[in-house]
């Protein structure tokens, strides 16, 4: 697809917020979420010509962001001497009146405790930007796996939410209960 400056700006306007939310839920830090979001758009600037079907653009951006996240996790494992994880996880700024009925801080903290493998599909599920087929393409797993991971992830999430603030159950215990 052609990507002149005006088109690029329109694409950024349309997608930067949901992309950032996805990035934040994956990374848990504003700085890294910003990097991931910027990275997705920078790659769009370089590779727009490879996108034949404009209707796939949103999924392409989410896929690119997710791959950048996975790559960064691999890189951090290989290069533990570079102190990029020194920043504590942060709580995001929530828009007024968002999600009244559950505590924002608890909800997002609980989501962060859900393992990556469940958190990514679960976040895409709650962001409601994609069909299940698209989520499967973004995460590069079969649609059935997406469904089961969402189901398990949500069970973990609910348990974490219900246990807070009274008692925090060790994650390993939760995983063994839900995954088995």
């Amino acid at each position: 697809m052609d990507l002149d400056d005006a088109t690029f700006e329109a694409v950024v306007n349309a997608h930067y917020e949901p992309l950032y939310r996805f990035a934040f839920s994956l990374a848990g830090q504003e700085a890294e979420a910003r990097d991931l979001t910027q990275e997705a758009f920078a790659q769009l600037g370089r590779k727009a010509g490879q996108i034949q079907d404009r209707s796939k653009l949103k999924s392409w951006l989410f896929t690119t962001l997710y791959r950048a996240f996975v790559d960064s996790r691999r890189w951090k494992t290989k290069h533990p001497h570079v102190e990029v994880d020194g920043i504590e996880d942060e709580l995001p700024v929530a828009l007024p009146h968002a999600g009244e009925g559950i505590d924002a801080a608890l909800a997002l903290q609980a989501l962060k405790q859900v393992p990556d493998v469940y958190r990514a599909p679960l976040t895409l599920f709650y962001l409601e930007q994609h069909s299940y087929l698209e989520i499967a393409e973004i995460l590069d797993v079969p649609p059935g796996t997406v469904m089961s991971r969402i189901s398990r992830g949500r069970a973990l999430l609910r348990q974490l939410m219900e246990d807070k603030p009274r008692k925090i159950v060790p994650l390993e215990t939760l995983k063994s209960q839900v995954v088995s």
Partner: protein, 253 residues
């Protein structure tokens, strides 16, 4: 569809109605309508999911994020003679003429440092997106470079400690992926390339920077700790006063 199957499906039914048109979900919803226990469970799920989705969708992006993203696409406008393609065509034409006139054979790429440096500088000012990544945080820049298969190992020389890192990109020249750091020095704008284990003829001697004019830009290059640095983007006066005459230039990088 029985209630057990319906429950399994409704566990992944999205609260915003995105799945309402799917026939399988419609059937599961119908089953929930007929089974009070399933309906109660489903209602309770929906309350949680709706609240959680609103919470997640209500996460605010940083106020300046959009501007940062748009800034990475800023382009640098140059006169025609600085257009790579125009110059490449002109150079190719000149080589052809010389080769024909002198009966020369043109024998492929050179691996001399001056040509490599010229290629770096040409790539860096080619009018395409100026920065691949915008940040003033060195650690984040190193992480970005590593993600893009460029070496993140560099140290800013002492003479550049007062500058502010604006961002970076990766420049490809002679088959190498070379990190380029963009530095702001007041209103001026410097580019620093860091080349690891450069094996070129004509490298600057160890411990002594060389100062050359290259493609319309003043440059200085030096070697330190197995790396070759190329700095460019300075006006002549800045270059002379800051790096040659002031004596502030030190090879700590």
């Amino acid at each position: 569809m029985n209630s057990k199957d319906a429950k399994q499906l409704l566990e992944v039914y999205r609260p915003g109605g995105a799945d309402a048109r799917d026939p399988q979900f419609q059937e599961a919803l119908k089953q929930a309508g007929n089974d009070p226990a399933l309906r109660g469970w489903f209602e309770e799920q929906r309350i949680f999911d709706t609240a959680f989705a609103e919470k997640l969708q209500g996460t605010a992006a940083p106020a300046d994020l959009k501007d940062s993203v748009l800034a990475t696409r800023k382009t640098v406008k140059f006169p025609l003679w600085r257009d790579r393609r125009v110059r490449a065509a002109a150079i190719a034409a000149a080589i052809t003429v010389l080769a024909i006139a002198g009966g020369m054979q043109v024998t492929g790429k050179t691996h001399r440092f001056p040509e490599f440096r010229a290629e770096l500088i040409e790539q860096a000012w080619d009018g395409q997106a100026h920065l691949g990544f915008e940040s003033s945080d060195v650690q984040r820049i190193k992480l970005w470079l590593a993600r893009h298969n460029a070496s993140p190992d560099f140290t800013l020389p002492q003479a550049l400690q007062e500058t502010r890192i604006v961002g970076c990109r990766v420049v490809e020249a002679e088959g190498r992926r070379v990190p380029m750091l963009c530095l702001a020095d007041g209103l001026k704008h410097l580019h620093l390339f860091v080349v690891n284990e450069a094996q070129f003829a004509g490298l600057p001697p160890q411990g002594t920077p060389d100062f050359e004019k290259c493609g319309g830009w003043k440059t200085t290059s030096w070697q330190h700790a197995g790396r070759t640095y190329v700095l460019t983007g300075m006006k002549y006066q800045t270059f002379v006063t800051k790096f040659r005459k002031s004596g502030r230039w030190t090879m700590s990088g």
